[in-house]
Amino acid sequence: MPTRTDPATDQVPEATRAPEAADRRRRRPAWVPYLPYLLPGAVAFVVVIGYPFAMNVYYSLFKWRGGMAPMRWNGLGNYSDLMGDSAFWTSFQNSVAMILAMVVVPTLLGLVLAAVLFDYLGRRFGPRVAAFLRATYYLPQILPVAVAGVLWNWILNAQTGALNVTLRGLGLDNPPNWLGDPDIALPSVMLVLIWVQVGYPVVIFMSALQRVDPELYEAAELDGAGWWRRFQAITIPQIRPETFVVTLTCTVAALKVFGPIYVLTRGGPESSTLVPSYYSYLNFFDKSKVGYGAAIATVLTLVIIVVAVVILALQSRAERREQEGR
């Protein structure tokens, strides 16, 4: 982790300044020179995120059909209805599955793949091969979600999909109904999400691995440490900052996920793949319950903020421990 440099002060040195009292008025806080650079970002934040979010919270306090229909005050009624809504709780349960499919598995898998690509394939076949393979792993992230959805439907369709046609050809008479059986649909969607998500950790971790000082590995090798021991003791602690970044961004993405669900199963079959953002969308657009949909979106946002804060707190604590010396 690079050490932070102190911001350059442009204040006159202590010794030559006028008396203290008048001084305090003229001494600007250190962050003032940065203001012009922060302003565009702040404006964008307010316009794109701040104001719409405030409007969303406002709408969640009303019963509203949308468009030009009248808005009727409902206080926290929408929220208390949410607490009793089984579809809402189902969607959060499915979010846990999403976290498994978009955070845990891709991070672990990504770490292993990055290590293999960097340590082994990169050394053996050269950096170009490693870079090419990295790009192919990242390709699903670039593919538009709608295209990915059509593609996976061609593979997973119960009657005409490539997978089931192959299984029938191999003699399996009743191949599983990948997207139509409520018990199997969620794992199928999770598989697609892993495929989509794994490229992102691979790319991040490969660049992180380049940062690790090779002398550490050599020293460990001289001391007799095998590959797995070196991986555990050196690689993982060294790339901790990247691990936190990947975990944080993937968790937020997992809690927000919408596109793949919409394209593959529309929350079905029998609501087994319902997720909070899709449920909010259904309420907004299908059922015309804008206030209720806004309440779902607000709760989802709060959950994400809490999770993000927890992860960031864990990260600061880990950094602090490292700086104090383990």
């Binding site: 019963k63 059909r65 949308g66 468009g67 030009m68 229909a69 009248p70 009727r72 369709n157 119960a158 009657q159 005409t160 109904n177 990948w178 997207l179 139509g180 059986d181 409520p182 649909a185 199963t265 529309r266 929350g267 079905g268 079959p269 029998e270 609501s271 259904l282 657009f285 299908d286 059922k287 015309s288 319950k289």
Partner: protein
């Protein structure tokens, strides 16, 4: 150091317009004066409607040489989901195709997003051209319920659900076209005995719901339908009409008349598999007619769902005029042109089921059969609309509950419980506002 900083600033400034262009969507070239007529619709150009409307545009352009006609193609999903938001703005079309029913056009009407067309209908004689049940879907009251109130939309065509069947496969097994429900079940059993699943179905979209509703209609009268669709009373979800229908459908699924893995199939899957001869029968709408004519190689025919007086069907989609439209007069003129004989007869010839056309001009035998099937229903005032119409969002409920039936994960009683809960809640919400 300084020079590289200058270069990077220049590069950033140069990239700014590209970034802005990337994140801003296109503004749309819609005109905003009386010299342009903007039309939105979501029908295929080759379909009956597409061809008829092309003719209507031609006539309009001849009669209004100064006006530019701009057609923007949409998709059904886009308009259904986004209309409520889009129509509150100012960048709206002058005339738009929209889905009929309480949950769709009714909603827009209740929110004041559509121009009432009652006066135009009286002046131009639209109310005389459209008969009884076809007018039900054109008028909506202040709560957005169809059947009474001002005119908000004008249909050009009708649609209904019938049974398409593969004549070659019927001949192969020596089967006749059924005329009653029992005969239909006998035919289906004959196919099942030979290892052929008789019905092409799709659990992820509308087809399964329409099959279920056909069975409900087999046991219903107009009074029950008025309760269910028009809120004329409270329909009993555990009464004989619905219970018998759900139990019959359940036994059909158990007997293998409907494929057990069809829960996630879409309407497109269903149609394609019927066309390529995997299934001998398909219970679906007149909107498939043109495509089956084009693509099916085997000999095929059509018959109304056997034994029913009431059938699934309604007026077609409506032309509506948004409240914020720039040229409502041009819009009304266009609508009037679409009801003229020249345009309606194109609908008749191409199998588009016109509301005001002349069936005798039809030369093609199959198109004539289709139109006669529709006319038979109209003669008995048999149009009973669609199962997902009564409350907003009911489409997803029907799909989900019937998926449970296909997967055999819920009993018919549980399915009816689910349908009832959503209906009652949705109705309370609808009438509450």
């Amino acid at each position: 150091m300084l020079r590289s900083r200058k270069i990077s600033i220049v590069a950033a400034v140069a990239a700014l317009p590209l970034a802005l262009a990337a994140c801003g969507g296109s503004d749309g070239g819609g005109g905003s004066d009386d010299q342009t007529l903007t039309i939105w619709h979501y029908e295929n150009e080759d379909s009956a409607m597409g061809q008829a409307w092309a003719k209507a545009i031609e006539i309009f352009e001849e009669e209004n040489p100064d006006v530019e006609v701009v057609v923007e193609k949409q998709t059904f999903e886009q308009i259904q989901k986004n209309a409520k938001i889009v129509l509150t703005g100012n960048d709206v079309p002058d005339v738009m195709e929209y889905n009929k029913g309480n949950a769709t056009a009714g909603q827009l009407a209740a929110q004041g997003l559509l121009t009432p067309l009652t006066d135009a209908a009286a002046e131009r004689g639209w109310d005389e051209k459209l008969s009884g049940s076809l007018q039900t879907t054109a008028t909506y009251d202040e709560q957005g319920l169809m059947g009474s109130g001002d005119w908000y939309g004008v249909p050009n065509y009708g649609e209904f659900v019938q049974v398409y069947y593969n004549k070659d496969m019927f001949a192969q097994y020596g089967l006749e076209v059924p005329t009653t429900l029992e005969e239909l079940e006998t035919v289906m059993q004959a196919f099942a005995d030979q290892g052929v699943t008789p019905l092409a179905e799709a659990g992820a979209e509308y087809p399964m719901g329409q099959l279920w509703y056909e069975l409900v209609l087999a046991n219903s009268d107009r009074e029950f339908i008025d309760q269910y669709q028009l809120f004329d009373g409270d329909p009993d979800f555990h009464g004989p009409e619905m219970t018998q229908a759900t139990e019959t459908l359940n036994s059909w699924i158990q007997s293998g008349y409907v494929a057990s893995d069809s829960a996630a199939l879409t309407a497109e899957d269903m149609g394609v598999s019927f066309i390529n001869g995997t299934y001998p029968m398909m219970v679906s709408g007149s909107w498939w007619f043109g495509r089956i004519v084009e693509e099916m190689d085997a000999d095929w025919g059509q018959f109304n769902f056997p034994g029913n007086t009431l059938q699934v069907g309604s007026s077609g989609n409506l032309w509506v005029v948004p409240a914020n439209a720039d040229s409502p007069d041009l819009a009304e003129e266009f609508i009037d042109i679409t009801l003229r004989p020249e345009v309606q007869n194109i609908l008749a010839e191409t199998g588009g089921l016109p509301v005001a056309g002349d069936a005798s001009v039809i030369t093609d035998e199959r198109t004539q059969q289709l139109t006669e099937n529709f006319q038979a229903i109209l003669d008995e005032d048999g149009l009973a609309f669609y199962p997902d119409w009564p409350v907003p969002g009911y489409y997803d409920v029907v799909v989900s509950e019937l998926q449970s039936l296909i997967n055999q994960s819920k009993t018919p009683t549980e399915v009816l419980d689910g349908l009832e809960t959503a209906y009652v809640d949705g109705k309370a919400d609808l009438l509450d506002s």
